[in-house]
């Protein structure tokens, strides 16, 4: 009996021990699995933390600092795991979108402000030019004129700068001009640069620029001439030549400065052909205005500009090509022959040896012209002659000169 009991107890104990052993073994397996899982999770957690830190400290700042006009390139995630997409990419995309939008908005408002301010400066410069012109008419003293010429010159440069900035901020050049000969267009451009005395216009062609293109072409030429003068020795000339082609006219500006190297040339060409964005936000520091303005105007008005040839003097040759669409011929303006034909009986001197005056086109016919000249004129005739003469002078000055235009001068201030 005792033996049986003992056996049973032992059997129970053995079974219990076995159960405990099994349990222990299982527990151990579970623990090991949990530990592994825990490790994996901790690893994953660390990765994410790293990734997040990387996003905040590296990727987002890099995104904010991407220079404008360049593709957004941001460092990738720290750890790439096969089969798993970058979970933070949507964050990055959103941020990129926000950055782009904020930038565009800021630029638009800055551009609008600049445009409005430049319009004010431009119209002031225009008003000032009118005032200077009036003073030039009024004062006969060479010393005063000298000062006025200097002020006029500075004002012309000021106006050009304002105009260039306005064009870069999206304005039109403004001013309406009548069709002008190519020579005058080049000289108009010359009027607006600092070293105007160095510019030489050697050849001449009989064509003119159509009214709507005068101001833009003048502005573009002024920028090119200014560039040419600025990048060459002060003692060297800047030469302007014309070359007539079958579908337009080329204006060549040669300087004796240094040629552009490959990289500069490439950038200039891209700017001039409009392949590189040109506005006030993309000029660099110091701002490179000239080519940007020229490129914009060329694209807008349909002429072309290139700077990729060398001038015969070793510097740069800038070529502005005006297509036939922008050219015209001036009616008779170039024909300088005075209109009124001379009556056959008049000779160039009176019998008394005085010079005979001719009326040239402008003055209307007068009642009671000068008395026929005789030797030994009586005083009354002399008086009559002088009276007529003075009237002639006055009417000659008062009558609009033949080449002036109807009063387009009003309201020709800057236009958006």
């Amino acid at each position: 009996m005792d033996h049986t009991l003992l056996t049973a107890a032992l059997a129970c104990l053995a079974a219990g021990l076995a159960a405990v052993a099994v349990l222990l073994l299982r527990q151990r397996q579970i623990t090991a699995r949990l530990r592994r899982r825990n490790d994996a999770l901790a690893y994953e957690m660390r990765l994410r933390e790293d990734e997040l830190r990387h996003l905040v400290t590296t990727r987002l700042p890099a995104l904010a600092e991407v220079p404008r006009d360049q593709p957004v390139t941001v460092p990738g995630p720290l750890h790439r795991r096969p089969g798993r997409a970058d979970e933070l990419q949507p964050v990055l995309d959103l941020a990129a979108d926000l950055v782009a939008r904020a930038r565009t908005q800021a630029e638009q408002s800055a551009t609008a402000t600049l445009r409005a301010m430049m319009r004010a400066v431009q119209s002031l410069a225009n008003e000032q030019q009118v005032a200077i012109s009036a003073m030039q008419e009024r004062h006969d003293d060479p010393a005063v004129l000298e000062d006025l010429l200097r002020i006029d010159h500075m004002n012309a440069q000021l106006g050009r700068r304002a105009q260039a900035t306005a064009v870069l901020s999206g304005s039109w050049p403004g001013q309406q001009r009548s069709a002008s000969s190519l020579t005058d267009v080049v000289r108009g451009a010359t009027s607006r640069i600092r070293d105007y005395l160095r510019v030489r216009v050697t050849s001449e062609v009989g064509v003119a620029v159509v009214s709507r293109a005068v101001e833009p072409v003048v502005l573009a030429l002024a920028e090119l001439l200014d560039n040419a003068a600025r990048h060459s020795q002060p003692s060297t000339p800047v030469e302007v030549n014309f070359q007539q082609a079958h579908n337009g006219v080329a204006i060549m500006i040669d300087d004796a400065g240094v040629a552009m190297d490959g990289e500069d040339l490439e950038r200039a060409t891209r700017t001039l052909t409009g392949r590189r964005r040109a506005d006030v936000h993309a000029l660099g520091d110091p701002p490179q205005v000239g080519f940007a303005v020229t490129g914009l105007l060329a694209a807008r008005y349909g002429f072309s500009v290139s700077v990729d040839t060398r001038s015969p003097y070793g510097g740069v040759r800038a070529v502005v090509f005006l297509p036939t669409a922008l050219l015209t011929r001036l009616p008779a303006e170039t024909a300088p022959v005075p209109a009124a034909p001379e009556p056959p009986d008049r000779t160039r001197t009176t019998p008394g040896g005085l010079v005979k005056r001719r009326r040239v086109s402008a003055a209307p016919a007068e009642q009671g012209g000068p008395a026929p000249a005789r030797p030994g004129r009586p005083a009354r005739d002399v008086a009559a002659g002088m009276g007529a003469w003075q009237r002639g002078t006055r009417s000659g000055r008062a009558t609009a000169p033949p080449d002036s235009d109807p009063p387009a001068s009003e309201g020709e201030n800057s236009r958006p």
């Binding site: 012109s133 008419e137 004129l145 010429l149 001719r358 033949p402």
Partner: protein, 115 residues
Amino acid sequence: MKARRRALVRPHVVTGGRAHPSRNIFDLVTLVAGTGRAAAGLSPEKRRIAALCRDGALSVAEIAGHLALPISVTKVLVSDLVDSGHLSPRVPTPADEPSKIEILQEVLDGLRARL
């Protein structure tokens, strides 16, 4: 007189920056006459002056009117042209006999009557 259009070519380019005529013999009524010398190689304004004066004499004031340039600028150009031999100045010739008060008075009366 209405304000002239703002000229495209500014006066400093027209005169090459000079404001002082090379000779100081001109006033509004000075007559100049062309000498017939070829005008090749001159600036457009000077060529126009030479063409205007080719067949007779014009006063400085009239030339300025035709070219739409200020008188003082015109004087610079005209005096250049005189220097280069394209124009010759004709100082207004005095009357045959010396002026007398009565003549001047008559001149004045005549002018008043006509103007």
